[in-house]
């Protein structure tokens, strides 16, 4: 083996760094003393180290921003789009681990594997984002999914948690199967798996494509729609969100969603960009169905985690409008939306994690009643997040929707835009009901006082982002614009 045949590892440096860190942390965990207090200590140490290495990975990723780099026989690509999405994913994962600091110890979940699995899943997501080939896409996706199945069932003595894990695994396996089947159809009809080759093949100037390819795209879309929990592949979401431990739900609702949406965008506008008229109507349908279901099905939910599950289905619907729009403007709007969604969602989940009564977690939305009397600052933060999710200005969520709908109007997708804004009014109903419970009602039993410094930190940070995004939105806007431009440059 000559030196020249060794692949260029620079574009994949953050991934390699994380992979090495994971192995080191695993060794550390295995050789740490066990039993009682020592387990807690190990898990605390490894969680902390994981957060630090995720932050270091953000730094590493940012240094790669700029040009388009490919490696590993053109299967792995690192461009500004990947950098933007990876920063979001890494931030989401790091915040999710921070959220679980206290929770792990209180709920007998203090095992060092937890943080390591999250980092593992994050590594899979980074691979997905950088995939430039159907095979590397699948490898990344499975690395992510398998880690997620385990984390969902992490509270192994809790039947709901194990049920969630099992359900997620079975349905997720079916979805992965569909995706793989779609990929094999594509390969069978074209003889290529590489995105660049596929893009060249499907160039609109090359005439019609065979029906088999369209079937392949549909299967790939179905598999990915499952991962982003878009209707009609959303059924697992409420159950898994409810059953999984709350910090895990927080993690599920941000990082894997962002990664899968990024992957969906890369696949759809990259290799299949030339076939836009074949898949656009499918995405429009998925988007409308997700927005409507997210709006109407959440109205009757009494469990706040289930409610957030439906809310996230709705948000995916809005993000998909940007994909229907296509082009740089559409992708830019999705990327802005994802950044805002990340902070709103993490913030809400941090508030949910603060809902404890006599030391035990409560999840009914009626348990929020009268919270503003005992927790004024927490209530204000929750109200800001919820108004932001409903898309009420001046909070960040409004701007997310603004850019999405701007794209839709520019592409003359008026029907989609009108359905979108109307379903956002319906969704506003259940969002403001949370505000109603928090502010208008009286508490039967107050919630516990202290919520832990780590939750306070996450709530304050994401609250400030959501509340004051409007003051200076330019950094997010220009970063998203650069990322979207990179996707169309190559």
């Amino acid at each position: 083996m000559t030196l020249a045949s060794i692949p260029n590892i620079i574009p994949a440096l953050p991934e390699l760094f994380l992979a090495l860190i994971i192995m080191a942390l695993m060794m550390l965990g295995v050789f740490h003393k066990t039993g009682g207090k020592e387990d807690v200590k190990a898990s605390r140490l490894i969680s902390l180290l994981s957060v630090i290495s995720l932050l270091l990975a953000i730094l590493l990723v940012s240094t790669l921003s700029g040009g388009r780099l490919v490696t590993f026989s053109n299967m792995f690509v690192s461009d500004t789009f990947a950098v933007y999405c990876k920063v979001l994913v890494l931030t989401g994962s790091a915040l999710a681990i921070v959220l679980s600091f206290g929770f792990q110890e209180r709920h007998d979940m203090a095992r060092f594997e937890y943080a390591i699995l999250i980092v593992f899943a994050t590594l899979g997501m980074m691979m997905m984002i950088s995939a430039n080939d159907l095979i590397s896409l699948y490898v990344g996706l499975e690395l992510q999914s398998l880690s997620l199945y385990v984390i969902a069932a992490f509270q192994r003595d809790d039947t709901r948690s194990t049920e969630a894990g099992l359900k997620y695994f079975v349905l997720g396996a079916v979805a992965s199967g569909m995706l793989l089947y779609g990929a094999s159809l594509i390969y069978g009809f074209t003889g290529a798996t590489n995105f660049d080759q596929l893009a060249e093949l499907f160039n609109p100037h090359h005439g019609d494509v065979s029906i088999g390819v369209v079937f392949g795209i549909v299967f790939i879309l179905a598999g990915l729609a499952f991962k982003i929990s878009a209707v009609p592949f959303h059924m697992w979401t409420p159950d898994v969100y409810e059953g999984a431990p709350t910090p895990v739900t927080a993690f599920f609702s941000v990082a894997p969603k962002i990664a899968a949406l990024a992957l969906l965008i890369r696949v759809m506008v990259g290799p299949f960009g030339g076939l836009v008229e074949h898949w656009q109507q499918i995405v429009i349908f998925i988007s409308i169905a997700s927005m409507l279901l997210g709006a109407f099905a959440a109205i009757n939910q009494r469990n706040i985690k289930r409610l957030m599950a439906y809310s996230s289905i709705g948000h995916v619907g809005y993000a998909l409008i940007g994909l229907c729009v296509g082009g740089e403007a559409g992708v830019r709007s999705v990327l802005i939306y994802l950044a805002i969604y990340l902070f709103m969602n993490i913030g809400v989940f941090a508030c949910i994690l603060s809902m404890r009564r006599d030391g035990a977690m409560v999840e009914g939305i009626n348990d929020l009643a009268g919270m503003s009397r005992t927790h004024p600052m927490l209530s204000m933060a929750l109200a800001i997040f919820v108004f932001s999710m409903a898309g009420i200005p001046p909070f960040a969520g409004f701007f997310g929707k603004l850019y999405i709908f701007l794209g839709a109007i520019e592409a003359e997708l008026y029907g989609l835009a009108v359905i979108g804004v109307l379903s956002s009014v319906v969704a506003a109903f259940y969002y403001i009901r949370i505000v109603q419970l928090v502010y208008f009602e009286e508490a039967d039993q107050p919630l516990d006082k202290s919520s832990g410094p780590e939750l306070g930190f996450v709530i304050t940070a994401s609250g400030l982002f959501v509340a004051f995004f409007f003051v200076y939105p330019t950094p997010v806007l220009s970063a998203a614009a650069a990322a979207a431009a990179a996707l169309f440059a190559g």
Binding site: I392, F405, A417, S424, V425, A428, F429, Q436, F470, T474
Partner: protein
């Protein structure tokens, strides 16, 4: 033009006050007292600031004044731009005048969560002023819709027994209207390439697009005004809201719709406006007659005044669409007068509500024996609401009727019946509450108004008489702007006709 950003200061000063209230800590009593004082002083300073702007306002030009702009979202060519002209100047004054009065009116009757209450009012003031000063559609929309948040909380937290229903209805109704306007704003952005209001006013939209845009804007403004048949949120919201909430709602928030019609619908979509004028006339006349009759049958004082507001706003919409100088000036004047009068009437209901805790007309009677000063003030505002010459209510309604008479005598005749019906329900209300014997035991110990309450009414009394006897200072502010706008609309209509003729 670089000068001191006085409009931004005016807009965001209350927010600074709200921040100070938010950060006060310590004993409940101290926090409450501090919150009240900070809110009062902040809003008073803001009022003085707005008076300063009024004094320096140049009434000889139709241009925007005190303009300031800053780059905001350069990638989208959306900028932060503020400025005022003859249309918005007086509304800004109305908002800054009423906020301190609301704070003062809530001094004693709001005892729970005073800190949050004062924060809500200060935040509300910021959004109201910002809405009137905005010179960019997106900035306007943000303030326009953000108002929902503090108002939702004010109705929901400090409201009456049915407050949850009322606050949800208020929130969702208005939101439904405004999201359609948001889409229209975006469509305008892509047609004209900008969201600058000044640039959009001179941009000519294609006629088919105008119709859709006009309808989308109308959906939003009709709910806010509110016009029949989308007015049903208003009586609920008024009845459940605390006194000061009703005051701001009636006096300022209802003006958003009329202001929006004058600022956007008429100058930006002139052809569509002319086309839809019959619709506006019909809905307004129905509103005037129908809601007046409904008001006659009300048992709840606040509900009665709420319905009378819908009727009075009917004059506003009629006047605006006459496209005559008298009609439009009358429409603006009517909004200002209604702002002062309805605010005072809700405060009047609040005074007795604080004492008896009932808004039912049947629980009162013969108050004149115990509360002479109160009866006098009530009479003044009751007559102003009826439109008695010499009060603010007369000037607006008279100008509107003069304007509409030149355009359509039938509409003028039908609208004029509103004056008669208005006199009927207001006088009937007054008789039942104030006159007669004082039979009820619950009223035996009722006391007249305190000095604080009189202080709240003093500026309103001065204004309502001043605006009735010497309206010139107010009309002067708007006159040039109104003429300028009508001139622009006529030019646009003629140009449109020329195109059609040439096409034939």
């Amino acid at each position: 033009m670089t000068h001191f950003p006085i409009l931004s200061l005016l807009t965001f000063l209350p927010l600074v006050g709200a921040f100070f209230v938010l950060t006060t800590r310590g004993e409940e009593k101290v926090v409450t007292r501090n919150a009240r004082h900070v809110a009062l002083w902040t809003s008073l300073i803001n009022f003085l600031l707005s008076l300063f702007i009024w004094v320096n306002f140049d009434t000889t030009t139709a241009d925007y004044q005190f303009v300031e702009s800053a780059e905001w979202m350069p990638a989208f060519n959306i900028n932060y731009k503020m400025g005022i002209d003859g249309f918005s100047m007086l509304f800004v004054l109305l908002a800054t005048l009423l906020t301190p009065l609301c704070v003062l009116a809530s001094w004693e009757n709001v005892q729970v969560r005073v800190k949050e209450y004062m924060i809500s009012f200060l935040v509300l003031e910021t959004f109201m002023i910002g809405m009137f000063c905005a010179m960019d559609m997106v900035v306007f929309y943000i303030f326009f819709e953000a108002v929902l948040i503090p108002m939702f909380l004010i109705i929901g937290v400090w409201g009456g027994p049915n407050r949850v229903y009322a606050s949800f209805k208020f929130f969702l109704y208005t939101l439904l209207g405004s999201v359609l306007m948001l889409l229209a704003i975006m469509a305008m952005y892509f047609d004209a390439g900008t969201t600058d209001i000044l640039a959009l006013t001179s941009h000519r939209f294609p006629i088919d697009l105008q119709i859709w845009l006009w309808l989308a804007f109308f959906a939003s403004f009709a709910v806010k005004i509110p016009m029949w048949p989308v007015h049903t949120w208003l009586p609920d919201a008024h009845v459940e809201a605390p006194t000061a909430g009703s005051v701001v709602l009636a006096a300022v928030l209802l003006k958003f719709g009329g202001y929006g019609l004058l600022r956007f619908s008429l100058p930006m979509f002139p052809e569509a406006s002319v086309m839809f004028t019959p619709l506006i006339y019909t809905l307004s006349v129905v509103a005037i007659i129908y809601t007046s009759l409904v008001a006659l049958a009300q048992e709840d004082m606040k509900k009665l005044i709420a319905y009378s507001s819908v009727a009075h706003m009917g004059f506003v919409t009629i006047g605006a669409f006459t496209l005559t100088v008298q009609g439009i000036e009358g429409s603006i004047y009517q909004m200002l007068a209604h702002g002062v009068i309805s605010a005072a009437l809700f405060l009047i209901v609040g005074v007795v509500y604080d004492r008896i805790h009932s808004r039912n007309i049947s629980d009162y009677g013969g108050l004149v024996h115990k509360m002479p000063a109160y009866s006098l003030i009530f009479m003044l505002f009751m007559l102003a609401s009826v439109g008695l010459p010499g009060t603010a209510g007369f000037v607006g309604e008279f100008l509107v009727l003069v304007g509409v008479f030149q355009v359509n005598t039938w509409v003028a005749a039908l609208a004029a019946t509103g004056l008669i019906l208005g006199a009927a329900y207001m006088l009937y209300l007054y008789r039942r509450v104030i006159f007669g014997a004082l039979p009820k035991e619950s009223l035996a110990a009722i006391g007249d108004m305190s000095l604080r309450e009189k202080a709240v009414f003093a500026p309103l009394i001065i204004l309502v008489i001043w605006m009735g006897i010497y309206p010139t200072p107010f009309l002067d502010v708007m006159h040039v702007s109104v003429e300028h706008m009508i001139g622009n609309i006529e030019t646009a209509l003629q140009a449109g006709q020329a195109v059609t003729v040439a096409g034939q």
